[in-house]
């Protein structure tokens, strides 16, 4: 029982953490352009940032 007292809150907190992270990702526009993300892997990154941050899109 004493193990459960630690493990259950830990499991719940981890779940809540995942949920909070998902909410953040949604608000941040991470799911706006899924096909584009797959294509952008192929680009040569010249390092000076050729796009604005995802979340800036209206």
């Amino acid at each position: 029982m004493s193990g459960l007292a630690i493990l259950i809150p830990v499991a719940l907190l981890m779940g809540l953490g995942g949920l909070a992270f998902f909410f953040w990702a949604m608000r941040n526009g991470q799911f706006e352009d899924l096909d584009g993300a797959a294509q952008r892997v192929l680009l040569d990154d010249d390092g000076d940032g050729d796009g604005n941050e995802d979340g800036d899109q209206p």
């Binding site: 779940g15 949604m26 352009d33 294509q39 680009l43 000076d48 050729d50 899109q57 209206p58």
Partner: protein
Amino acid sequence: MNAIAPISSDQSHMVVSRFAVPAIRCAGCIAKIENGLKDTPGILSSRVNFSTKQVAISHLPELDDDQLRRKIEALGFEAQVLADNPLSEEKGSTDKLIRALAVAGFGMMNIMLLSVSVWSGATGVTRDLFHWISALIAIPVIAYSGRPFFASAAMALRYGRTNMDVPISIGILLATGLSIYETATGGAHAYFDGAVMLLFFLLAGRVLDGMMRDRAREGISALLKQTAPGAMVLDDDGKTRWVAAKDLLPGMQMMVAAGESLAADGVILSGSSSFDCSLMTGESAPQPLGKGDLALAGTLNLSSPVTIEITATGEDTSVSDIARLMDEAGQRRSFYVRIADRAARFYAPAVHSLALLAFIFWMFAGAGWHQSLLISVAVLIITCPCALGLAVPAAQVVASGALLRKGVMVKDGSALERLAEADYVLFDKTGTLTLGRPTPVNLDDLSLTQKQVALALSQTSRHPISKAIRAGLLALGIELAVLDDTQELPGKGMTASWGGVKVTLGKPEKSGDHLSSQLSIGTDSVILQLQDEIRPEAPEAIAELRAMGLPAAIISGDNPQSVSLVSRALDLSAQADASPQDKVEAIARLTDDGHKVLMVGDGLNDGPALAAAHVSIAPGTASDVGQQAADAVFTSESLMPVALSVRVARRTMQIVHQNFALAIGYNIFAVPLALTGMVTPLIAAIAMSLSSLIVVGNALRLNGAAK
């Protein structure tokens, strides 16, 4: 790629403009556009959205949309300005559903974690503790994630009706209430897992449905309306002033320069010019209009300035008439009942009566109210349409995804259902069966110098023929010749001097039957022929439609000669000179004969017909009215997507029917178990997930349907 762009100037002054760029196809296009725009002064940053084929540009307010559009076109991509974020509201509803789904998923997994221990034999204090923790998770999760269902059920009940959400809400609330009672009294079974899992699967169905709608809406999105915002008005004292469209009055005289579109209907008082009326009539060739002729709002003045006395403004103009006609035509379609709702109409009362009967039976059998209620809740939970809720959206989402990859955007699920039922096709001509723009057909006859001069001459003209020549030459990668004093002579064409030699591009001296233009360099001259070409693969598409049992016909607002050219080439019957009203009536006639008409059209004049037809498709080049009225939009030049959409829609309905059969089969197996009181939470959980997975798996077979 997600690095924050360097902030070079005060960001608060930046404006964001969005453009639709349908030609984005690969990673190379992304790089080309983003890198190409990066170095332009005034542009802070640009971001391509590959899924929606859009570019968002953050720039200084000094740059206007037209300059930016030309900038993108200089990079080799056609672009159209998008109205300011027209979709935020609709997208919000899906976002809310996704949040509810995420919360339900979180709750389901954690409760399941505890339930598995109970099922594997936890007893006594441990079991009660786990039930209490489950209740602690389940109650807020159900309160949050259940809102979409509770709200819809409450709405239905308020109007004295019932829908699919009523048994769902009752089932969930009863199961939760009973489980809390069980937990408080230390009972053996709690149904928190079943209730939350039910929510999760049902929300998954709703999210799929909503995502499909959003995806297509984003792609189609309202293109900026091209009607003029106002006009220069000539006062009695000879002064001119700018008057906004809504303040224009009949009797005013407005001056319309070449290249402007008309803000109101009117009669030409002085001057003569050619007008692009394609938006209103579908006629492809520019119409010459002179003194005394009626010019309509929405048409584009092409060649020379005219003065027009206004006869009708605002809601009285012909454009508004079309809009009104469309509104009326669209209302008939809103009576269409989706297949899922038709199923729910039988399902909801059946489930309610079954649960009630089970309760009454067990009460009489002497099982006690507690045991009887438990059984009827089990019936409600296990019959609750997990598989039924997923049967339709899962199939439709997979099918629309497959179609999207082929360049067809379907607006919603009901469009697929109606598309599968269509048994007659009506095509508009200009822009639908044909590409809708004249294309030069004999550019190869020109020498390189001639091409360079022609490009330079066509560069500054707005005339559709010049535009077509320019587009054709740009596609060949021709460079500009350097010309001096370029002028546009109204009604004649372009003239300039090229190293001292007079060069012209304009109306041929001997006017031929079809569209043509004459290029002269000094005394040398050559005729450029243009044609509004038939879309590639049009005969194949029409043949395939015919093979599927959809005969086709043409209905066009263009003149009989141009229509007969196309109808003969494609071997179709045709009706020419059709007004928007005629098109609607033709559809009504076919509908009265028992046909379900698929209308394929693009122009503003097709709008009412697109709205009136059982289902409609528009090409991506269509006017915004056409795109909004249509159920689906295809972006490719080929006509094949029309046949493909019908084929995929029919396949989708097959899968939907299979899914219904699976869901009903599952109920035949599960309901007796529930009625006899043998359903424990474990069985309910397994049955629900299994049936949902089978239905989703079956729907996934549609992935390859659009080959």
